[in-house]
Symmetry: C2
Subunit: 457 residues, 2 copies
């Protein structure tokens, strides 16, 4: 029985192992590791230096080592792989499921990858190479070749015997897929049928024919949505002739969901590539290059702001205090724009909002923003009236603020919906685009209003 290790227990074990390394007391380290789950070992060794991590890793039995490697983060895994010899890597790859094996092989230098693929069994090698050909973010790219497929003419008893023969290699089984003599998927056999039904029963007569399958080219985000919608634990993947070529299980989907959420957040923050890659692998220079494009977009937009302001130079010089409130106008427009667009972008990603809802959303976002604009407009009017003793100017700033806020809500709502309609990723828009558009439009509204009412100020 094992309760999950708490953060504290993990750290205690790290301290213990650190102490044992200092003492050169290697046997004890082995004794500690032997009771631990591979996922915990992966976490524990992440605390050590590269040298000590290699050292601990090499103590592990190949079966455990392969599982630990899969649970490590990309950055440390790649570092570790660099330090392992080809034989050890081959031993590890040979023990992994093909999807994990393909992940590892794809990160190896070409000549090492070739050596590994030549040294493992021909069948596994072929499977791995097949998986490497699919787009990484497609169903084919996340599926594994390990699965149980039986023919529809077989009996339950025959199926059991076949599974018995391979029971060593088969890890967790959730579903058995049924195929015809051309390997075309025709159904599924729930595992419980194997002990609930008589052995002489034909698979064909009892199989579930309503099985949901996935085509190999389907994008992983869509695969995740299918798993979510239909509450799947595993699903068969088929080629264009409906022949079964692999399966996807829900633990891969959990990773995909995380990845996609990270991607959305990164894009909204103006980062082009998926965040996880940046966190673990990105060098300073890579991070710099990935972020620069969005900064340039914002930069160009703000040169527009500077240009707008230069056109209002005279109004500003007449009422210099108008410059003081440029930050508040910009910040409030920016905040409202992000609030509206964040809701829309996430709603679109999770399927809770669609283009058909545009009027409903617009009404709600402008409605909520109107009330916020009124509250903030009155506040700024009161503050300016007392601080600068100029209620007329306070009135102009207050009204401009309301107008800027309404504009920001409309832009923040409409832009992502329209982009989605044209199949452009709306998460991109929520970052620099909407903020910059709102800044420039906000300044135009503010300085324009002020200029119109200049003679009253």
């Amino acid at each position: 029985m094992s309760l999950v290790l708490s953060e504290e227990s993990i750290k205690e074990i790290v301290d213990d192992i650190g102490y044992l390394i200092e003492q050169n007391n290697y046997n004890y380290i082995k004794n500690i590791l032997i009771d631990l789950h591979p996922a915990d070992i992966a976490e524990i060794i992440s605390y050590f230096s590269n040298k000590h991590r290699e050292y601990i890793f090499k103590m592990l039995e190949p079966d455990v080592a392969s599982e630990v490697l899969i649970e490590m983060d990309n950055f440390r895994r790649n570092k570790l792989l660099e330090a392992l010899d080809e034989e050890t890597i081959t031993e590890i790859v040979d023990r992994l499921d093909t999807d994990d094996a393909a992940d590892i092989v794809s990160t190896l230098p070409d000549e090492v990858a070739e050596h590994v693929l030549d040294s493992i069994s021909e069948e596994t090698s072929k499977d791995i190479q097949e998986l490497l050909e699919y787009d990484e973010e497609s169903a084919g790219g996340i599926m594994t070749k390990e699965m149980i497929a039986v023919r529809q003419e077989q009996t339950i008893g025959e199926v059991i015997n076949e599974i018995k023969k391979h029971s060593e290699e088969i890890g967790e089984v959730y579903n058995i897929w049924v195929i015809d003599n051309k390997n075309v998927l025709v159904g599924a056999l729930p595992l419980k049928y194997l002990f609930l039904l008589p052995p002489e029963e034909k698979v064909k007569n009892v199989m579930d024919t309503g099985v949901i399958y996935i085509e190999s080219g389907t994008d992983q985000e869509e695969v995740a949505n299918i798993f979510k919608k239909y509450n799947l634990v595993s699903a068969p993947v088929v080629d264009k002739d409906k022949k079964i070529i692999g399966k996807i299980t829900v633990d891969d989907i959990v990773d995909v969901l995380q990845e996609e959420a990270n991607e959305d957040i990164s894009k909204m923050a103006g980062i082009v590539k998926t965040e996880s890659e940046i966190i673990v692998e990105g060098s300073v220079f890579k991070t710099f290059r990935l972020r620069l494009p969005w900064l340039i977009v914002g930069f160009i937009g703000q040169i527009g702001s500077a240009f707008v302001m230069s056109k209002f130079e005279q109004s500003i010089s007449q009422v210099l205090a108008s410059a003081f409130f440029i930050p508040i106008i910009m910040a409030m427009g920016g905040n409202i724009g992000i609030q509206s667009s964040a809701i829309i972008v996430r709603g679109l990603a999770t399927g809770e909002i669609e283009f058909k809802d545009i009027w409903k959303r617009l009404l709600k976002e402008t409605g909520a923003s109107f009330f916020n604009g009124v509250v903030l407009g009155i506040l700024i009017f009161v503050i300016i009236s007392f601080w600068l003793k100029n209620p007329n100017f306070g009135m102009v700033v207050g009204f401009s603020l309301l107008a800027v806020i309404l504009n920001a809500a409309i832009v923040g709502t409409v832009v992502p919906l329209v982009l989605k309609k044209f199949d452009i990723d709306p998460a991109i828009a929520t970052g620099p685009f909407i903020t910059t558009a709102n800044d420039v439009l906000g300044l135009l509204i503010y300085l324009g209003t002020m200029t119109v009412f200049l003679k009253f100020l």
Copy 2:
């Protein structure tokens, strides 16, 4: 065999049913619905008005109706529940798994809930009431009471017989939990053992004793992290005496992950409550109230900006063009701050970044931002030199921009890490707090630098 329905097929079916409703051709609608997955029916009826949705829903067999209801979004589900009579609701609740039943019952008006709980079997009613007592966001709040637990003294054959007796009620089974005579969890029995092992084998001798279990009070975000870390499909939930009280399956976890990602994004965008609630249920007024607090935080900060600027009134009036570049200074500081903090916040949420990494992260974020600052600083210098024919002023703006960017990177990196250290949710910080701090500090840096070099401009 069913390929997943595409968006287009769904819309075609919606059109067909709409046409049939117009024609009062009810039998055909039933024929269309009978072949569809409950999740697809839920999506299809979301396109109809409340009246027609009720109408279609009432055509469904109770078994299907209950599954459709669970797949609907909260907003439409609550609307529909309001329109159903107590008997229909009772029939539906009676057919649901206890976790879904508890979700439904918790949204019903008190007297309806009472009626429903009185009308269903006493055992189910007790289970549902037990579930309702747990915190919604804890393991107890997301678990279900349906599970298979067997005693360790039983044989494989006895277990099979017991499952046969209940095979009607049991949906998908992934794991069988093993308990002692005090209901204390002692192990798990993989389903495949039931057909791979001889029937006379004792459970005690073959069970897997390394099963990971979850305590009922564990927060759902932590439960999700445990499922991810250990790649679980289901896990038993125990009380403080380690007695088994329920189970959690991975499809609930998929929902939790989505919810938590939405929450992070919402907070970063300055929205206090979880976004999903706002999307589907929030009225205009509720949305307004939920967003106002963060806007006020930003507002107060920007009054600080106005105050800073008023202190530099003289410098601004001497070089009026300095006001033109306030938007670019603020926007670039804001963008850099969000880029840095978004990475940190997500990394902290997914466990990829920890406080111990603070120096590494700081080096990386300031490093990448330094290069970006140099590029943007040179750009603004060139633009000002040509546009305003004032290279000295361009130099001051360029250097200030670099300083503002570095400051923003440091604030964006350090603030979320420190908050996390003190157990404050770092996602909150990424929104208005960091942006506002960066705006005020950025203005101080920019106007301060300009004032120092004023005589050269």
